[in-house]
């Protein structure tokens, strides 16, 4: 123990002399942990929200019975089943509007709820109040805040009905309101109707079979495997995770570089300790203890950083998830214990990875080898050939994943392998460049400049690799986002051609509004839309019925057959979204069977249209044909054509005339703006992580240069002695770093483009189901190039300033100390 403590004290005393190195190691680990845990916190937050939303009161976790034809069924069915011994609990679900937002209303019967659901409801007196009258409306604290109301308030619904007094139930998901079943039936105007029966217990083996009690009116559904939202948003979160990992890896580059240097510089200490009798075990324990301590401290700091990153990005992510998927996120970051555990775990793993090779070398070293000058790095040639072999391996893996892989994960694997392979190959390219320079150089100083750069390459290569990763990610993601923005904007222009879009509050209002609009001179066309929701291969799909009109046939961006619109109007053709086509492997001419209440409806695919940003599948058919097959389909959505200058007047008139009879109304410009906002926020998170990665790589470069600076003195002293001024030497140093950065930036352009191609053609298609046109943006490349030079310049500034001002005595010491 004494040995261990003094060995630890002697080893750690090193950091006092090299605080910059310690800082680099600390920052590397902390940054890696911060970005990783920040992303993890965002993902956790979202997943928890989905689970809670899908699983309000544990309802998603219980198997149940639903109407075979969708929709509702009579409460008598519930009584009949109970009286036959089936332990079922009634449920009525629906949407209600409060202010300008929709909420999911859940009517439950607490006495018969399955036990784990009942446990989430209040007990005792509160339960008595919940049962009413007047009952209680249970909401999450966030929902109460969003409504701007206090507990006990009873907000009015659109039709003069009132919610029971609100009460907080902190386990509920935001956006869900839980009331007694009787209250739900009243508020949703479905007296005596239910939407689902939950099975509190499996029916006994000898129970009366379902078919003889309910005929084929009810069918059994199993507990939700994964919440629908979680499935829809999987790709979004995979994207985030990939970025988190990238940042983590870049952070580890820093930690690895500084730990390697620290190891090298501490070899004499270890040699001395061993010579005076410290045991290898004590030394190894001390090294590991130091590492663990450092990892814990850096990990803790990283967790705080991660929290801040997540807190800063949460609003954007919440907004984009709501816009894209309708997923409501808890706006306040909650931190689960396992988040802490995994974050600290990542810090420890990171430290272990960063230090592993050094530690192993220490343990394997015979005592005398330590006592001799020790070649920590392989000879450069050996090192380069190993890099080359690894790079080739990684690139081969990238190609294999691309060729043989399937699914989003394979896309990411190929991307990661491509990045890794390119990063490993970077020193090779730089070495080749420098050899070329050396061969061409005239004059001793120029020759020295290249030769010395070549010698410096191994020490800087990790930082340069990190820089390459950051720069090419920047180019890749930048190209994708910019390309997407242009495509999206153009698509919106083509797609959103109607001047006004609105939704009527009810069928009755819809008919009145239609009549009123028909009489207006300034309305050129009223285009009612019908929408039904269905599921194709367990994927939610919206089927939209539109009337035949040149608004669609003239503007709808489409890959189609010539007679597409005629076929649609005839009722035997359908247009499907790109996502749906890819998911179901449909192409023009394929047939599609849509399940309708009156049996399957066979349609031929006559067109495929882009539907960027839609999480669900989409299909477009003729409205009349749709109504014939879904007689219950409600006709509430409308598009109006008018002269653009008349649009504001029409909107005002509509609102004045019908008031609450119009649920939503928006003009073309506002709709476009809103779509673009959702788009921007979706990529705001990506852009932020992208920028953070670049910052991290700048830190990596800075750390490497700082730690190398001390070693540089020995190499520069002979030149100084030979008459090269410190100022000139500093300029050489600066030029060298800039040269490295510029060369790295050059390599990053093709790599970035390859990355962009992978994102656009592989990852996006697999993640979201759409493919974007591939654009190149040379101006972006210039930006990145400049960015690389600035990054390198800034990182080099401090070490080089120090060099320029170095005391001649320090340079002299090099000679004095020479053996």
């Amino acid at each position: 123990m004494t040995q261990f403590l003094y060995a630890l004290a002697a080893l750690t005393s090193h950091w006092r002399r090299r605080p910059g190195q310690l800082a680099a190691l600390f920052v590397g680990l902390a940054v890696a942990t911060a970005l990783w845990s920040g992303v993890a916190a965002l993902n956790d937050q979202a997943r928890r929200s989905y689970d809670r939303a899908a699983n309000a009161l544990g309802i998603g976790a219980a198997p149940g019975l639903v109407a075979t034809n969708g929709g509702s069924f009579s409460q008598e069915m519930f009584v009949a089943l109970r009286r036959a011994g089936w332990k079922v609990s009634p449920l009525l679900e629906g949407m209600i509007r409060l202010g300008d937002k929709s909420y999911r209303l859940l009517g439950v019967e607490p006495l018969t709820l399955p036990k784990n659901s009942r446990d989430e409801l209040p007990e005792g007196e509160s339960l008595e109040q919940f049962l009413g009258p007047p009952g209680r409306a249970l909401v999450a604290p966030q929902t109460l805040r969003a409504l701007g109301l206090g507990e006990g308030a009873a907000p009015t619904l659109g039709d003069a009905d009132r919610l029971p007094p609100l009460a907080i139930e902190k386990n509920l998901a935001p956006g869900v309101i839980v009331v007694d079943i009787g209250v739900a039936q009243r508020l949703l105007h479905r007296p005596g109707r239910l939407s689902r029966l939950l099975l509190a217990e499996e029916p006994a083996a000898n129970a009366t079979p379902l078919a003889s009690l309910a005929g084929d009116a009810l069918r059994r559904v199993e507990a939700d495997e994964a919440p629908e939202l979680a499935r829809l948003t999987d790709s979004f979160h995979l994207n985030l995770t990939a970025f988190g990992l990238l940042a983590y890896v870049v952070g580890l580059f820093i930690a690895h570089a500084s730990f390697g240097l620290a190891f090298e510089q501490r070899l004499p200490i270890m040699r001395t300790l061993r010579a005076i009798g410290a045991s290898l075990r004590a030394l190894a324990c001390a090294l590991v203890a130091e590492l663990v301590l450092l990892a814990l401290l850096a990990g803790a700091a990283g967790m705080i950083g991660g929290y801040l990153v997540a807190a800063a990005l949460l609003p954007d992510m919440a907004a984009s998830l709501e816009g894209l998927y309708g997923a409501e996120l808890d706006g306040r970051l909650g931190l689960a214990p396992n988040w802490w555990a995994s974050g600290i775990g990542m810090a420890l793993i990171g430290a272990a990875v960063a230090a592993a090779s050094s530690l192993v070398k220490t343990l394997r070293l015979p005592v005398l080898a330590i006592a001799q000058p020790f070649a920590w790095r392989e000879t450069q040639r050996h090192w380069l050939s190993r890099q080359a072999a690894l790079a080739a391996l990684a690139l081969a893996a990238a190609a294999a994943a691309l060729l043989f892989g399937d699914g989003l994960e394979a896309g990411f694997v190929s991307m990661a392998a491509l990045l890794l392979g390119a990063a490993l190959a970077l020193p090779l390219a730089l070495a080749a460049l420098l050899r070329l320079g050396e061969a061409r150089a005239r004059g001793p100083l120029a020759k020295w400049f290249f030769a010395d750069a070549l010698q410096q390459l191994p020490g800087l290569s990790l930082a340069l690799m990190a820089l390459l990763l950051a720069l090419s990610t920047n180019i890749g993601v930048g190209s994708m986002v910019e390309g997407f923005r242009r495509t999206f904007a153009q698509w919106l222009d083509e797609r959103l051609v109607a001047e006004i879009y609105f939704e009527a509050a009810s069928e009755k209002e819809a008919r009145r509004i239609e009549t009123w609009l028909a009489s207006r001179e300034d309305v050129a066309a009223v285009l009612p839309l019908c929408k039904v929701k269905t599921t194709l291969r367990s994927w939610p799909v919206d089927v939209i019925g539109a009337p035949p009109h040149e608004t669609f046939s003239g503007h709808f961006p489409l890959e189609s057959r010539a007679d597409a619109w005629d076929r649609v109007a005839r009722g035997d053709g359908a247009l499907v979204s790109e996502q749906l086509a890819r998911r179901l492997a449909l192409s023009l001419g394929s047939s599609l069977d849509l399940p309708t209440p009156s049996g399957d409806w066979r349609l031929e695919i006559v067109g495929i249209y882009p539907d960027y940003g839609a999480a669900k599948g989409g299909a477009r058919v003729d409205r009349a044909a749709l109504s014939a097959r879904w007689p219950d389909a409600r006709r509430l959505d409308y598009m109006l054509r008018a002269r653009p200058e008349d649009a504001p007047d029409i909107m005002l008139a509509l609102q004045a005339q019908f008031g609450a009879g119009i649920a939503r109304i928006i003009d073309q410009a506002a709709l476009k703006e809103r779509s673009m906002t959702i788009f921007e926020r979706t990529f705001a998170v990506t852009a932020a992580l992208d920028a953070l990665t670049l910052v991290v790589s700048a830190i990596a470069l800075f750390a490497s240069l700082t730690t190398l600076a001390a070693a540089r003195v020995a190499q520069l002293a002979p030149l100084w002695a030979a008459g090269v001024s410190r100022r000139s030497l500093s300029w050489f140093e600066f030029a060298r770093v800039t040269l490295f950065a510029a060369a790295t930036a050059l390599v990053s352009v093709p790599l970035g483009l390859a990355l962009a191609y992978d994102l656009v053609a592989v990852v996006n298609v697999r993640a979201f189901g759409w493919r974007l046109p591939f654009h190149m943006f040379p101006s972006q490349w210039l930006e990145v190039f400049a960015l690389a030079l600035v990054t390198a310049g800034l990182a080099a500034l401090l070490p080089i300033r120090r060099l320029a001002r170095i005391a001649p005595a320090s340079l002299l010491a090099v000679f004095a100390n020479e053996r």
């Binding site: 004290a9 002697a10 001395t272 005076i276 009798g277 053996r819």
Partner: protein, 238 residues
């Protein structure tokens, strides 16, 4: 006298019953381009407690190798080393490390100080490592070595002679039975080197430590009790 040179032998043999250090038929070779390169070819040597021996020889004669083997920094191919009655050649790495910190003091040509620790901490490092820190003895060493005003400095702030004195003090602080010194004054000018050697011998005597010193200088060797010379891996009388 326990050590005596025999003209017909390459060994210096101990005649006493219990020598502090006894080296028997020690052989060591290093791999070279044309097969194994023998460095030591059966060396016998003995050293009694409290005495000193200078090990001389040309560069590459194997004198440093012999010292490293005695210090347990390397392992022999054949033969044995007994220190204080224990056969150290049979020890594993842990055992040899324990031997070094408990029984030996080592001073190298390079000063081998921990640059990030103060002079005071360097001085007491080995004694603390073995749990044998004696403040009074340390103070006395520091005073004798002329370091008492430099204890809070760092090695780089010291001259070469001062640094080597710290190394000597560190090796003697745990009161080792045997001090091994490899060209301890090789990096110092003559006057400074002499002063350091004086201190080394004087303090070793005070501490009761035997001294085995490698040097190529006959002048310095003459200051020790005995001398032996290594020629082509064999020990000969000087």
């Amino acid at each position: 006298m326990a050590i005596r040179a025999e003209s017909n032998s390459t060994s210096i043999r101990n005649e006493g019953a219990q020598s502090l250090l006894r080296v028997s038929r020690l052989s060591k070779s290093y791999p070279g381009p044309q097969g194994a390169l023998p460095v030591l070819r059966g060396v016998d040597l003995a050293l009694d407690a409290g005495t000193s021996l200078a090990l001389m020889g040309e560069s590459g004669s194997g004198k440093s190798t012999l010292l490293h083997l005695v210090a347990g920094l390397d392992s022999a191919d054949d033969g044995s080393i007994h220190i204080d009655g224990r056969e150290t050649t049979a020890l594993d790495d842990e055992g040899r490390a324990a031997l070094r910190r408990r029984t030996l003091g080592v001073v190298f040509q390079q000063f081998n100080l921990v640059p990030s620790l103060t002079v005071g901490d360097n001085l007491s490092l080995q004694a603390r490592l073995v749990g044998r820190h004696d403040p009074a003895w340390s103070d006395r060493l520091a005073q004798r070595l002329g370091l008492e005003h430099l204890l809070d400095r760092y090695p780089e702030q010291l001259s070469g002679g001062q640094q080597q004195r710290v190394a000597v003090g560190r090796a003697l602080a745990p009161r080792p039975r045997l001090l091994l010194a490899d060209e301890p004054t090789g990096n110092l000018d003559e006057a400074t080197g002499d002063a350091v050697l004086d201190l080394l011998l004087e303090l070793s005597a005070t501490a009761g430590a035997a001294v085995l010193m490698v040097t190529h200088s006959a002048r310095l060797a003459g200051r020790l009790d005995r001398r032996a010379r290594l020629v082509a891996g064999r020990l000969v009388a000087p």
